[in-house]
Point group: C2
Chain length 347, copies 2
DNA sequence: TTGAAAGCGCTAACAA
DNA sequence: TTGTTAGCGCTTTCAA
């Protein structure tokens, strides 16, 4: 009855207990850091040695069934192919693994309905918590989940209701540095290509842009902000083309992210405008290879790996202390990386 | 219907059975597609309705403990931050999720010892199988695992022993197209920056290079192949600098991957050589943004998403049919993308 | 400090 | 076709 085909493991707690000459319950207590104190020091040592000698690895399924904890955490990502999120996943996975947790990957492909289905299925799998990078500004799913006491940490994107802990970056300061930089170069007519309005990153950068422009006494009306359909190159291209064909006059573009900036640069080139001589461009995120473009992209660097790592720590903290309220909002500092796409304003 | 407060789940199989007026075992059989045939059609319907009404979601841990199957698959990746692997993960995750499997992410950070520890821990978690992108040419861990009958599929990289199923790309053909292309442009002295010798991708592209060169009657001796320490920009930079300072004369570089190519281009620039006027350069993989460089990189495009998806299918096939032998080697076609870094040979 | 016993929720052999 | 029974391997009362 012991050996069933495809057995995951062979050494069980009973085996360790027998080897150490104790009852399985005692072995369990000796091996569990939380209950180790209740066991005689000598016994602990004997059990530990036996476990070591036999190469015992606990069956996490059995433990999970008993404790209703799985030590598994789900990472909900809109698109793992996007290097932005890949860096975040990396940081989170490292911290989780080191803490003995297993990171499960959910790639929602930017589809909210797929997301709902997958999150439900992950709940059934007994996830101990979720790290969510897909938050929308209005997000019914996350509002529901916030009502349960399931540990969830948002990363990169925030919801309007702010009911869950959030790890992001100080984008307002990032945007402000961009506007300061452009203003110092003599730019006055600056356009903002905003990310979509259903993301906090889109909305907050746009708001920060208008605020920073006003602080410089520069025009910050509705006509200076174009909301793009998505955070993609295509959207940046289309929006910029519309701007240009609408006869808008400007000497600089502050894009909501690097991809929008890339699209904008293509549109400018097609319109016969040079970057940075005719129009300066700034991106956001500093994706890999942005320094390799010609001209290299001026952009705001965000510590994606750190964000992921911090989100993982916040989640582990929640899991370890379920009783306390968890709603901390953490913003990491960003850095303006000045490269070749910005220069003194054309007159 | 979906919302169960707090706990991961509350409706158990017993509840469904009671609601349907049958024994739990019968409910189990009725709900399991594999055993449904043994149950009266009417009973099946009653049970299904009860399950639906109660919002029953099976406890996967309990099932896994009993069946020693978890429907979880581990993806072993050297570095999820590398877009190359991100694409692969994406393809695999999609297929696995659609099949009701959960993809767990293991980022080994290119560290074999970390890999061994993590794989062991994943085995304890009862993974149903592994998709491994970290294979080394000589890989004791994988040889061990090949002896167990744990389902494992290799992707992107192969081991020398070829004992496990493998999904890769036809890199030999890719390299041949590169050499053909360069030869047609009049290049005769072509250097190959090979990837590290402990990877199949490094070795096989190097071998293919020498073979293709000979087929063209071009020099293919040891001095025309430089083995780089890693698949990184830095390694490509260093190797190219060494080549140049060693007085090697060449008009083209075929790099083992895009990063090596990027490093090579930096070294050329620093040495006062222009690309492509003085030296043509070709990469491998066609990472995102390689088309945005100036000049844009000529490279070989590999269908990473398809590779991941195919690997997932092969693994699911193995899991579904454990008895049959699984050692299929599948190579997907590649495509030469000619851009700006290659042109007629300088004389 | 240790042992005995129960049971987490499920499935599979066996019996009816 | 359905029910009975017995665990999967672990943790955790409770008792000693």
């Amino acid at each position: 009855v012991t050996a069933y085909p495809g057995a995951v493991q062979r050494i069980r707690l009973v085996d360790v207990a027998r080897e150490a000459g104790v009852h399985p319950a005692t072995a369990s207590r000796a091996l569990n850091p939380a209950t180790r104190g209740e066991v005689n020091r000598n016994t602990v040592r004997r059990v530990a040695q036996a476990a070591q000698r036999l190469g015992y690895v606990p069956n996490v399924l059995a433990r999970g069934l008993r404790t209703s904890r799985s030590s598994v955490v789900a990472l909900v990502i809109p698109d793992i192919g996007n290097t932005l999120f890949a860096g975040m996943v990396r940081g989170a996975a490292r911290v989780l693994t080191e803490a003995g947790f297993t990171p499960v990957l959910i790639d929602t492909n930017n589809d909210p309905s797929a997301e709902r289905a997958q999150v439900a299925s992950m709940r059934a799998r007994g996830m101990d918590g979720f790290i969510v990078a897909t938050a929308r500004w209005e997000d019914p799913l996350l509002d529901e989940l916030a009502d349960s006491d399931l540990p969830i940490v948002l990363v990169n994107r925030q919801t309007q209701t702010r009911r869950l802990p959030y790890i992001g970056t100080d984008d307002q300061h990032g945007v402000q540095m961009c506007v300061d930089h452009l203003a110092a170069l003599g730019h006055r007519r600056i356009m903002h290509l905003a990310g979509p309005g259903d993301t906090s990153t889109g909305r907050e950068r746009a708001a920060a842009f208008q605020q920073a422009m006003r602080a410089h006494g520069l025009p910050a009306g509705a006509s200076s902000v174009t909301v793009c359909a998505a955070f993609t190159e295509e959207a940046g291209f289309e929006s910029t083309r519309t701007l240009l064909s609408g006869g808008q006059r400007f000497t600089a573009i502050l894009a909501g992210n690097d991809l929008l900036a890339l699209g904008a640069m293509t549109a400018l080139r097609q319109a016969g405008l040079r970057c940075p001589e005719d129009v300066s461009v700034i991106g956001f995120n500093d994706l890999p290879f942005m320094d390799k473009l010609t001209p290299a992209l001026t952009t705001v660097r965000r510590p994606m790996g750190d964000m992921g790592a911090l989100a993982a720590r916040a989640l582990l903290d929640w899991i370890a202390n379920p009783a306390t309220r968890h709603t901390t909002q953490t913003l990491l500092p960003v850095e303006l990386i000045v490269r070749g796409t910005t220069q003194t304003a054309a007159r």
